[in-house]
């Protein structure tokens, strides 16, 4: 609903009629999705609904059986995976991890960490980070590439509610400042609704999609999420306040 005068720009990535099979199981069937510059699109759906598979298809990590993915030429994609399972035998501190993005200037690295709210972790071993710190460090690595499109797979899993609210605010700020497009995978219904421009509700196929307010009253959505959905108090984000 482009709030606060956030112009929706060019289409960055578009998936048309995407179907994916894993063995005999159809994981995705005829899914359409697109993300444009300046908007936050959130993918919600129950476990096993194909959210991660769709993201992988859009990132061209997995080739769909049918349908196609068009990525605007020349754009940079930043990706944060759901989790990082670094073997404990691999000595790797945050600085080294961030340097793998290609940026090695220590000042830039410190600044980006401060920007995502993870100060003072530069010299820490990556496997010693807390869940929330890890998510922020992953985000920092993606941002170092100065992405046009940011793809975040479950960025708030394992983060407490307070941390989640903060994280969604951070994501909105990144969108506002950098004017990138953001594709978010989540199942925190409540927060997603408040922090998103467009919601795509997935369950193997697209159940419904649109503005958060519309999706939350869509029968298909209510059926899919049942109890959980009715417990969600959707508050439309009227921006008469400022995020600190």
């Amino acid at each position: 609903m482009p709030d606060g005068g956030n112009p929706i720009g060019e289409v960055l990535v578009r998936g048309t009629g995407i179907s994916v099979r894993h063995g005999r199981r159809t994981v995705l069937h005829n899914v359409d999705i697109q993300v444009s510059r300046g908007e936050i699109v959130t993918l919600i759906g129950p476990n096993g609904s194909g959210k991660t598979t769709l993201v992988r298809a859009l990132l061209e990590l997995e080739s769909p059986e049918s349908g196609q993915v068009q990525k605007t030429a020349g754009i940079t994609v930043g990706y944060t995976p759901q989790q990082l399972a670094v073997d404990r035998t691999l000595p790797l501190d945050v600085r080294r991890f961030l340097e793998m993005s290609g940026v090695t200037d220590p000042e830039v690295l410190s600044n980006i960490l401060a920007d995502v709210g993870a100060r003072n972790v530069l010299r820490q071993e990556i496997r010693m980070l807390s869940g929330g710190e890890m998510k922020r460090v992953l985000l920092a690595r993606a941002l170092l590439r100065e992405p046009d499109l940011l793809v975040l797979d479950e960025p708030t899993a394992n983060v407490d509610v307070h941390g989640q609210v903060e994280f969604y605010e951070l994501i909105r700020r990144i969108r506002d400042e950098r004017q990138c497009g953001i594709l978010l995978v989540s199942h925190d219904l409540h927060l997603v609704m408040s922090a998103t421009d467009r919601v795509v509700c997935l369950n193997g196929h697209v159940c419904c999609s649109g503005l958060p307010g519309d999706v939350s009253t869509d029968p298909a959505y209510l059926e899919l999420f049942g109890e959980a959905a009715s417990a969600v108090a959707v508050y439309a984000h009227d921006h008469d306040h400022h995020h600190a």
């Binding site: 990132l59 990590l61 995976p81 073997d87 000595p91 501190d93 793998m100």
Partner: protein, 271 residues
């Protein structure tokens, strides 16, 4: 047994030491990836299949090392393919490949027994029979291996940390994996002469494990693993000469002892 009159002691000891340390350096640097990527069992499988390479080398009348590299590569590629089919769990697949290739190797070797393959030499290594030509092979192959490893290093680390993340950042994952497999096969062919098929994995893993506690970066760990491996070779050779122990196992025992001692050492904490 070792003190024959025709061989002056310094010569064959020197050859063994020089070749052994060459192998240990390459195995240390490669071994860290085996540990980080949890490929210990995979390394075992390749090592087991090496005997089949020996037999094929003899049967075809080609260089045994070429036979080993060829078979290891075939097994490695076969493994990548079978894994993509997702019919069986990975450790089951590796078990099938490891044991059937070892058995096939033993059967094949029996065909060429007329040519007198000394099975024990291949299974447990024979570092004391190293010749100057072997040293040339070890250092030639070792230089190539380290060169390839240096070239792959950044991408390999990226893939080890997160494969999809590396791929979205432009790393050619398949090319890197195939190159690493080739490297791995080369290293195993090299190491076989020294510690033998059955102990190759030990020399890949134990020095790397020893190095872990003292390392703060991946590169440090590789260097420390190379040092720990070299020490193991020197110590193992020494005790093998002193007490007339089988050299390959003695080297592995030495590396295990170094690991145990390293656990007891205090580690300088990061400030």
């Amino acid at each position: 047994m070792l003190m024959t009159t025709t061989i002056t002691m310094p010569d064959f000891v020197l050859y063994a030491l020089v070749a052994g340390i060459g192998v240990a350096i390459v195995m240390g640097a490669t071994g860290v990836f085996v540990v980080w990527r949890r490929m210990a069992y995979f390394g075992d499988t390749l090592a087991h299949s090496a005997l089949l390479g020996v037999a094929i080398g003899f049967l075809l009348g080609i260089n045994v090392n070429i036979g080993i590299v060829g078979v290891c590569l075939t097994i490695a590629i076969g493994m990548v393919y079978l894994r993509s089919q997702r019919h069986l769990a990975e450790d089951t697949l590796l078990g099938i490949l490891a044991h059937s290739s070892l058995a096939l190797g033993l059967v094949s070797v029996s065909f060429v027994s007329a040519l007198r393959i000394d099975l024990m030499t291949y299974l447990f290594g024979d570092i004391l029979s190293v010749t100057p030509a072997d040293i040339g092979w070890v250092y030639g192959g070792g230089t190539v291996a380290l060169g390839v490893l240096a070239w792959l290093w950044k991408d390999l680390i990226a893939i080890t940390v997160h494969e999809d993340l590396a791929r979205t950042e432009g790393v050619n994952v398949l090319r890197t994996q195939i190159a690493f497999m080739t490297l791995f096969a080369l290293v195993i062919a090299m190491a076989m002469k020294i510690v033998g098929i059955l102990l190759v994995t030990a020399l890949l893993i134990i020095p790397a494990a020893t190095a872990r506690r003292f390392s703060r970066t991946p590169e440090q760990m590789a260097v420390f693993a190379a040092i720990a491996g070299s020490l193991s070779v020197a110590l193992g050779l020494q005790s093998s000469l002193m007490w007339d122990l089988p050299s390959g196992p003695a080297i592995v025992v030495a590396s295990a002892l170094i690991y145990v001692v390293s656990i007891a050492l205090p580690v300088r904490r990061i400030a």
